[in-house]
Symmetry: C2
DNA sequence: CGATGGTTTAACTATAAGGTTAATGAAGAA
DNA sequence: TTCTTCATTAACCTTATAGTTAAACCATCG
């Protein structure tokens, strides 16, 4: 329970930043949640911007590394796609605010992610491309631009989280129903993609 | 050129809010862009919150009404889906910051859109459901949960805009290439969906 | 002309928020 | 015990920003 102060601050900051974004977050609230004085935030992290950067890099790295790993699995591409969809949706279900958090920062500072993306996804597209060509050669897949496929994957996975209030209102689901919807989505998205890619 | 003051303010506010979000926007900047004194903002719109609300409602209504209209077209469902994808992507290309803007507000105040959604999408899901059943009966479509289909549509259309810096970095496209990518995406998404839905 | 009323501005206020500082506490070293 | 050092705090400082106010402007109508 008694974590060291720096990680207590970090975790509090993560919670607040992820919920409120950079501009919306208040240093005082972070201090309160960490149960420490506001000056300590600056003692450990210098400034709001640096604290945010630390939190953001960690979160983005977590998402990207998991996603990239799933896409690089040593399986035939169709199976890899299923793995990706399942792990990615599960990951986000555990941190539902994460995509919106990353996306907002992406808008505020479009270059922020470049370093992280470049670090975690080198050759990712090539790997995807090779996977596609192999599967095409094996007659298991129709050819598709890997960039589009990547976009499809991400879009299909994160949309129910970032647009939740909208979708939930439009479909009139209660929270339990929406949870079931999210669970079902893993299979739904997998089969949707597979069917779209039959040769 | 000489618009009336209120709309000048409104347009300036739209530009600033859409670029920076509510927290990031500064009343002074809105006033500057509108070429008027800051006090006038309050004269016409009372407070930052009210000004934002006006802008947000208008933007959200624009997106939702166009989208809902496309989905209600009097065509067989497969054609309707193509129409939707094309008009929606074109709409966003003309206002590329719009989705992120709406999504951020969705996070800041999840209930904000409920009224607008409820107003513009009543029976939308039912209409989609009927369209699906008709097409299924005609042997043109495999059955799919309309809620999932709606999510698929939105996710596939908006992802290249909200995740643009990420995708552009991962794919190493320059701006021209990314524009071509967006243009190509209309066809790509349409055929992807159609293929996924063959019976 | 001159009064009236909506519009616009310059100057101001209040406050909240990020950041700083100097003093205090605690814990080990000499 | 006393000195040193790192951790922590209360109080303070500065600035930026939403919002207010009172006066000036300007058109219209009598």
């Amino acid at each position: 329970m008694e974590q060291d102060t720096e990680t207590r601050i970090f975790e509090a900051a993560r919670a607040v930043f992820v919920e409120q974004g950079f501009e919306g977050a208040r240093m005082q609230e972070i201090a309160d949640r960490a149960g420490i004085n506001k000056a300590l935030l600056h003692y450990y992290f210098r400034s709001k911007a640096r604290l945010f950067e630390a939190v953001f890099r960690a979160s983005a790295a977590e998402v990207l590394s998991q996603a990239a790993t799933a896409l690089r699995q040593d399986q035939p591409l169709p199976d890899r796609l299923t793995t990706f969809v399942h792990t990615y949706i599960d990951l986000i279900r555990a941190n539902p605010h994460l995509p919106a958090f990353v996306l907002e920062e992406l808008r505020r500072n479009p270059d922020a992610l470049k370093a992280v993306v470049a670090e975690h996804t080198p050759g990712l597209l090539d790997a995807l491309g090779r996977g596609i060509e192999d599967a095409v050669a094996a007659g298991r897949l129709r050819r598709i631009d890997p960039a589009h496929l990547l976009a499809h994957l991400i879009g299909l996975c994160i949309i129910p989280f970032i647009a939740r209030p909208m979708l939930q209102t439009a479909t009139q689901m209660d929270d339990a129903a929406y949870d079931a919807f999210l669970e079902a989505r893993k299979e739904e998205v997998s089969t949707f993609i597979h069917r779209a890619l039959v040769p």
